[in-house]
Symmetry: C2
Subunit: 464 residues, 2 copies
């Protein structure tokens, strides 16, 4: 692979990325729709310079996606690389040190909206592909690239696109670079994402707010009932008490727990960043285990009765809570919501009416790390960064990963090259330029590893 | 007393009340300050027609009060009658069937702002005084009348006035007509008012709202902590669990409980009026006992975290509850707040910061029903209404009663002639015209009873 890595050293391609980042492809802003189109065209035009088999702009009901394909040797596996070319809004602009759409390199960082999320991380794959083409004239495997334009608005048309382009998108593996490394210098493969569910609990008593002097003490207070119901959700050790809540949880293996324990996690710095006085969670689990491997139930908001300044002596007619949970494999948001509702109705005291409204849900994702591509990725990342690559997880949800994995029925490798403090959705978004270069090498090495592991990959698919 | 009662039958005086109710003496509206002055002058001018010893308008830092005095026989007791001539705002005007300041009699009711609260109830005393003057030329006891202009804005200058006019206001008894009868045809003396305290509980965790995916499960959630703390305030049987909460509660006597049980209370109609599905309160007490004789703790409002529409997946930084309680004799709001704060801090879980802020408080009032004036009042009311008078209590607080009782150190008799649904602070306020006439007779009979009981009243004061 020395020839390919040398080609990467020779061509930094940073100017192409900078040119792309100048385009304000903010998908949530209707007045920037043409910028999103422009961004797609810009990418397509760059890709055409690197000898693709085909490059197409795919229209959707919203913003367009870019699709490109490079053919590898007959019988080689197919890798689908997913990314997105739309970006978050830049507000508040005043907080940016250099303007969001005037990319600027300072102290080894490229500052621009989209630098890390996700143009920079798409671009390092473009560079890896270009390096093969430049040094060898072709790629060692089939590569497909799908770069959508609606990720920041919930990938509204992705499911539709995956269905309508099923044959074009067929692949043996999917690779996504849209996440972060565990920390500087720690190459990381994200193998788990939590799912989510979101519900609203309404507790109603009297038909209007009543005078607390004239009625207090003789009617059930919905706020007391709500508090009792919320208090019934957890025990003192942080465990969720909803019957059946943990039934479908796939526990991490002892090896996975060891790997998590071995990560260079600075708990004190983490706690400082939150402003909380101490960590708290399920007894028997570390902070990272709580965030990555355990489901949660959290009240996100409370409202009802008198919420203004000062005193108003009422017995509230109605109070509500927003209740959300993070789920892990193999929990299903629909099942969990059903169990939560049953529990809340069972513990609701007499004298109030209780309703639980479903707001939304998303399934968790747990990577099939036994697949040979995972060890291949570890080798590629370790070599490119000169440090052992690690498996990490993410407490939050990335809905499109599960969408893609389910639609294609193939593993989805999350090779992320951002940093946890890269300001992905905030002012002063940045990409570490060294990670950008090492990331491109890691991608090239990964393609090569996958090509070399073709037999094992086909065998793995056959056995399943 | 036939002469006095005949004089009342002869002179309805309703036109004088109607003229007074035309004056929009809304004390909370600065643009109506001259109307409040006009109202005071109107009353003073009417009083001057009834041979008073003196009539004065007393300025205060806010709206003026009216004071008048009639001398009785040497050695007779002194009765101070308190009332107010300011009224609530009339909004929403569109909901009034006849305009608020154009008094109208329909179906035996006088509709007007101030009809029952409190001009009509002051006026029936004016009529009782006038009837004595008309029939006998003088009163059988010393009568003082204090009609303030700031009751609807919290009697801001009453304490000051009571202090500065201490000798003018000296009395053996106080009588206030500003409450309601238990129901139509049930003459009532209110012998208990609950006190109140009001606090705000703030529970704080992380320094800002955090992403519930990235942090959920590893930090204490202030909303869970708040719920636990609120849930700890009551047991399943409605008893308050704050240590020491009931220590100073003076239990009603078996006779008082019997009297309450004997009242014609329609629980089903009461429940229907609230819209709640069932009554709920401390096990072991009836609804009226819960409202009148037991202290309460009620959450009046909850707020914090995501309170808007839809889903926002956050771990809230801070949530708050408004907590208020109704107190009975001999509880003290300051002591109760101290006990509540100690309890909340004791049960607050680790990982959050808890603050309890005092908003306001007022002491409960329990009348000294052993004083001979109470049986005197019962006899007077029973005779005027042709039905046995009852002792009732009020779940709400009337702060000025305690202010006057404490300042003068004398019993404060609450002889109310409104109805529970008189719309005192709402559109279509009304006064039952028959109760207005019977109330004037009751007042006259009461003055006579007090005059006849002079020895017992002086003896009672001496023994204490």
């Amino acid at each position: 692979m020395d020839d390919v890595l040398a080609a990467l050293d020779e061509h930094s391609d940073l100017d192409d990325l900078i040119a792309w980042c100048r385009i304000p492809s903010v998908s949530s802003d209707p007045s920037r729709a043409t910028d999103v189109v422009h961004s797609a065209e810009h990418l397509a035009s760059e890709l055409r310079r690197h000898a693709p088999h085909r490059v197409e702009i795919w229209p959707t009901g919203g913003h367009p996606a870019v699709f490109a394909e490079w053919k590898g040797p007959v019988g080689s596996p197919t890798l689908l690389i997913y990314g997105h070319h739309d970006v978050q809004p830049e507000h508040p602009v005043a907080e940016w040190i250099s303007p969001p759409f005037e990319p600027t390199v300072r102290n080894g960082r490229l500052y621009a909206r989209g630098a890390v999320d996700d143009k920079g991380q798409v671009h390092l794959h473009v560079r890896a592909i270009a390096a093969f083409v430049r040094s060898r004239g072709s790629l060692p495997l089939h590569v497909k690239l799908l770069v959508e334009g609606e990720e920041e608005v919930g990938s509204k048309h992705l499911t539709e696109l995956l269905a309508s382009k099923q044959s074009e998108l067929q692949a043996d593996l999917v690779c996504v670079s849209d996440t972060s490394m565990f920390g500087p210098g720690v190459p990381s493969i994200c193998v788990g994402l939590r799912g989510v569910f979101y519900a609203e609990l309404h507790v109603e008593g009297p038909s209007t707010d009543l005078h607390s002097g004239s009625f207090g003490g003789a009617l059930a207070n919905p706020a007391h009932a709500l508090a009792q119901m919320i208090a019934s959700l957890h025990d003192d050790e942080g465990h969720v008490l909803v019957p059946g809540f943990y039934d479908d949880v796939r526990a991490p293996t002892p090896k996975e727990r060891e790997e998590i324990a071995a990560l260079p996690f600075n708990e004190a710095a983490w706690l400082r960043s939150t402003g909380a006085s101490s960590a708290f969670g399920e007894v028997g689990y570390s902070t990272l285990e709580r965030l990555w491997t355990r489901p949660t139930l959290d009240v996100c908001g409370l409202y009802g009765g008198h919420m203004g300044a000062g005193a108003k002596t009422i017995l509230p007619s109605r109070v509500s809570a927003k209740i959300s949970g993070r789920l892990v494999a193999d929990q299903d948001p629909t099942v969990i919501l059903r169990r939560l509702r049953a529990h809340l109705l069972a513990v609701a005291p007499a004298g109030v009416r209780t309703r639980v409204v479903d707001l939304h849900g998303g399934k968790p994702y747990l990577a099939p790390t036994g697949h040979p591509a995972y060890e291949a990725a570890k080798r590629a990342l370790s070599k490119a960064f000169g440090a052992p690559a690690v498996f990490v997880r993410e407490g939050a949800s990335i809905p499109f990963v599960r969408t893609i994995a389910d639609a294609l029925g193939k593993p989805c490798l999350l090779l992320g090259f951002g940093q946890p403090d890269s300001n992905a959705h905030a002012p002063n978004e940045w990409l570490d330029v060294d990670s950008y270069h090492r990331g491109a090498k890691a991608a090239a090495l990964f393609y090569n590893e996958v090509a070399c592991q073709a037999a094992a990959i086909f065998q793995h698919a056959f056995e399943r």
